[in-house]
């Protein structure tokens, strides 16, 4: 499949004569924006809802089971347990930014990254709801008159946001590799390994894990990681993927054309 230049009009379907130069037609750079309202429905329908919701439910059910055990045994759930329970949703998120037929979608007027970006936007409220539900489950195991304040939640939210962003970036990058068909299966272990490394390597742990880092420090560090990961995701999603230009020149030259 040959990616077309965005300057070539797709309305002109007639085959050009051999030797005739390509006639470039002018089209506004962001003209595809007008197609966005019509894309909402197909993007929603092609969203991998089952995958994402399965991951979210798996983590939440695991936490609910632990919460039940905690309430019957008289111990409390902590934020560490919520982190563990959020791993399945993060794993499911790795399968969201996938472009199944990228060579085809690359050829249509709308940029190929619109669909995965829309899927990611749709995943945000689902992940937010999962995080909220899991925090509610954790808080329910803490008796109302417990001495002392429970630890702040905002560093945890920043951390989970960072995890999601790192996973998305890993998935987007894997989607540009030879393992594109298994981008999620590759991205999930890779992002888990990255998270584990960040957690245990002293240099990064000083910034990303509190204590020793303060709650504010952890929050800022994880949002910085999330921002960098999102930037990487954007770059990876806009990547043109297949680059055939050199081979195409060879193929189109008379020396390589036996007819």
């Amino acid at each position: 499949m040959i990616p077309q230049s965005p300057n070539i009009s797709h309305a002109e379907g007639a085959p050009r004569a051999p030797g005739q130069p390509v006639r470039r037609t002018w089209r506004p750079r962001l003209s595809w924006l007008r197609a966005l309202p019509f894309l909402a429905r197909p993007i929603t329908r092609t969203m991998p809802w089952a995958t994402l919701i399965t991951g979210c439910l798996a983590g939440t059910v695991f936490l609910a089971v632990l919460a039940h055990a905690a309430q019957t045994s008289g111990w409390l759930l902590d934020q560490g347990t919520v982190r563990l329970a959020f791993l399945p949703p993060v794993a499911a998120l790795a399968f969201v930014p996938r472009v199944p037929f990228r060579p085809v979608t690359q050829a249509v007027p709308v940029p190929a990254w619109v669909a995965p970006a829309g899927h990611l936007l749709l995943a945000v409220p689902v992940l937010a709801a999962t995080c909220w539900a899991q925090l509610r489950i954790m808080m329910r195991t803490i008796p109302p008159h417990t001495l002392g304040h429970p630890p702040a939640v905002y560093p945890l939210i920043a951390q989970l946001t960072g995890w999601c962003a790192v996973t998305t970036a890993a998935a987007a990058c894997a989607g540009r590799s030879r393992y594109a068909d298994l981008g999620g299966a590759i991205a999930a272990p890779v992002s888990f390994a990255a998270i584990a490394l960040a957690w245990h390597v002293p240099v990064s742990a000083r910034l990303l894990v509190g204590p020793p880092a303060t709650a504010h420090g952890v929050t800022i560090a994880w949002y910085a990681v999330a921002s960098a990961a999102l930037a990487l995701t954007c770059v990876a999603m806009r990547d043109q993927w297949h680059r055939y230009s050199r081979n195409l020149h060879r193929l189109s030259s008379p020396d390589h054309n036996p007819s």
């Binding site: 399965t54 991951g55 905690a70």
Partner: protein, 595 residues
């Protein structure tokens, strides 16, 4: 290349009988076994070369290293910890096996695979047999970890059954991956399966008591590292290996049950599944059996009265009492002790003893489950009065908790310094005057403004030569300030290298070291050793007197007493920020070392 890639065309796959209800050509009798074996070879080859398995092997190795590099290499503990690495490898094998088993149904390729001569059941059987491809990675992990542990001076002998259990864990995880992939081809299913494996084994308190051994590989509980030797049934390695074998068989049966359609074959699978379930249940019941009373009695007696089983060696008038099997540590212990003793002008009358103790914590349901409460209470009482668990320790005994002495690296250097410091504190007669309770909070005595403290620290520095930066790290900084409340006065303290790691337990838990004492000792190290030794030898008795001050020692050495950093709130001219309130509430007091 992952195990999800397609394999080459197979020799000998000519028209086996179909049993998956597909619409392909049916052949009467075909070399089914040869087909399965050829397919299995390809699948095993793909698994051996799988990037996922390779990554799992590397991650597993890293996990094993993280768990073993700090601790004393005791084989009865390390063998189980190698299983943590096998768990990580097993997760990778599970994902790879799921991807491979789900290959035929993923991306709408079921029709294409249905046209192949090999049936779905044959392919599933081949996937299961192809798990042999994960064995080299597992064996490599075991071999590498064993080599590392042996090089680091392992104590005891490797438990073959425990190590074999790790291998079975990888196989069982792979079989679970095949079962998942046969039913759920989406790659997320494999990832979730791997997470379930991790969370079931690594979640604290998901199981308690003897039930901790029922999860695939328990990683967060247990006191294996505190035991002075292997304890039969803790962990129940043989029964656990049987459970894992049963789980692997059950997963394999489940995978075949998804693809096999013939009634006779399904009947056979049902029987195999029942047998596997029976094996799992029997193994579970064996793991839940209480540890024999005689073994626990022996363990508690070892903990309560270590002298009854220890072998003592005397070298340079110091007794080293170690549990059987720990004799290899003697040289490592002697070096820092002798280096301190060599500097002393005179030794105390009472000889020094370095004794191993066991920091066993009871009651522990994983150890004492199934025994009457009265018996457990008796064991608990005996353990609480064990040496090392009470603050009423002899003044001339340094305790060495089993499992705490590191094998190599920076931790060993810290442990050497700690042992040298404890020896020096005994040599300068700092008494064990700790107050409080081991179960709540201890308040060690503080040699406040006592010259002997600086002498002890100087001796320890001279004996082990720790890096200056590491010594300075123990001083208070602008953001971290630690101290003790002595006679209603805040005294800045110094955290020596290895502070809090528990490598050794000095008499009475050891004194609290002041920042002033360290700073003076550090200044002493800048002087010629002969000069300091001469000053100390000339009036050794005077410097050991608890009333002799740091300033007097500094004057005798001809140096200025270093200034001690104060917390910001105690510095002159300190103005509290708006909203800041200084609370002068007296806290718990540390006694002064006065003997």
């Amino acid at each position: 290349m992952t195990a999800t890639g397609g394999g080459p065309a197979l020799p000998g796959t000519d028209a086996p009988a179909r049993d998956d209800g597909g619409s392909g050509v049916t052949a009467a009798h075909a070399p089914r076994l040869r087909t399965v074996l050829d397919l299995a070879k390809v699948e095993a080859s793909l698994l051996v070369r799988s990037l996922l398995v390779l990554a799992g092997l590397l991650a597993g190795g890293a996990v094993v290293w993280v768990f073993i590099h700090r601790a004393e290499p005791l084989w009865w503990e390390v063998g189980w910890k190698i299983g943590f690495g096998q768990l990580v490898l097993g997760m990778a094998v599970l994902v790879a096996a799921q991807l491979a088993a789900g290959r035929a149904r993923r991306d709408g390729l079921a029709d294409l695979y249905a046209s192949f001569p090999a049936t779905a059941a044959a392919r599933t059987l081949a996937h299961l047999a192809g798990l042999a491809g994960a064995v080299p990675a597992s064996l490599l992990l075991v071999g590498a970890a064993t080599a590392v542990v042996q090089v680091r001076g392992a104590i005891g002998i490797p438990g073959v059954v425990v190590l074999a259990g790790g291998l079975l864990l990888v196989i069982a995880a792979g079989a679970a991956g095949v079962a998942i992939g046969s039913r759920f081809p989406h790659p997320l299913a494999g990832v979730l399966g791997a997470l379930a494996l991790l969370l079931s084994s690594g979640t604290y308190r998901l199981a308690s008591g003897a039930a901790i051994w029922l999860v695939p590989w328990e990683t967060s509980q247990g006191q294996l590292g505190e035991l002075p030797g292997p304890l039969a049934g803790y962990p129940p390695a043989g029964a656990h290996a049987a459970e894992l074998a049963g789980l692997a068989a059950l997963a394999g049966t489940a995978a075949l049950a998804v693809t096999v359609r013939r009634a006779r074959a399904r009947g056979g699978l049902a029987a195999a599944g029942i047998i596997a379930a029976a094996v799992i249940c029997s193994a579970g019941a064996l793991q839940l059996r209480p540890i024999p009373t005689a073994d626990l009695n022996h363990l508690v007696s070892e903990v309560a009265d270590p002298a009854s089983v220890q072998r003592c060696t005397t070298a340079s008038q110091v007794r080293y009492c170690l549990f059987p099997g720990f004799g290899g540590q003697l040289l490592s212990l002697e070096a820092p002790v002798h280096a301190v003793l060599a500097q002393l002008p005179a030794r105390p009358d009472q000889p020094l003893t370095v004794r191993q103790v066991v920091g066993l914590s009871l009651p522990d349901p994983a150890l004492t489950h199934g025994h009457p409460n009265r018996e457990v209470s008796q064991w608990d009482a005996q353990v609480q009065h064990a040496p090392g668990n009470t603050i009423a320790a002899p003044a001339a005994t340094i305790y060495l908790p089993v499992g705490a002495w590191p094998a190599a690296g920076g931790q060993l250097a810290d442990a050497n310094f700690d042992l040298a410091l404890a020896t020096a504190q005994w040599a300068v007669r700092i008494p064990p005057q700790t107050t409080g309770s081991p179960t709540s909070e201890l308040f060690p005595c503080v040699p406040l403004d006592q010259a002997r403290e600086a002498v002890a620290i100087w001796l320890a520095i001279l004996a082990t030569h720790p890096p200056a930066s590491e010594l300075q790290d123990g001083l208070p900084t602008g953001t971290h300030f630690f101290g003790a409340e002595v006679r209603n006065t805040f005294v800045p303290t110094w955290h020596y290298p290895g502070f809090g790691a528990g490598y050794v337990t000095p008499p009475g838990g050891g004194p609290g070291n002041t920042a002033a004492g360290f700073l003076l000792a550090n200044a002493m190290t800048s002087l010629p050793e002969q000069q300091v030794s001469h000053v100390l030898t000339d009036a050794w008795g005077r410097w050991l007197n608890w009333r002799t001050t740091d300033a007097q020692l500094a004057a005798a050495l001809g140096i200025r007493m270093p200034s001690v950093p104060l917390p910001p709130s105690l510095r002159p001219g300190f103005k509290p920020q708006p909203g800041m309130r200084i609370v002068n509430q007296p806290g718990p007091q540390n006694p002064v070392c006065t003997a």
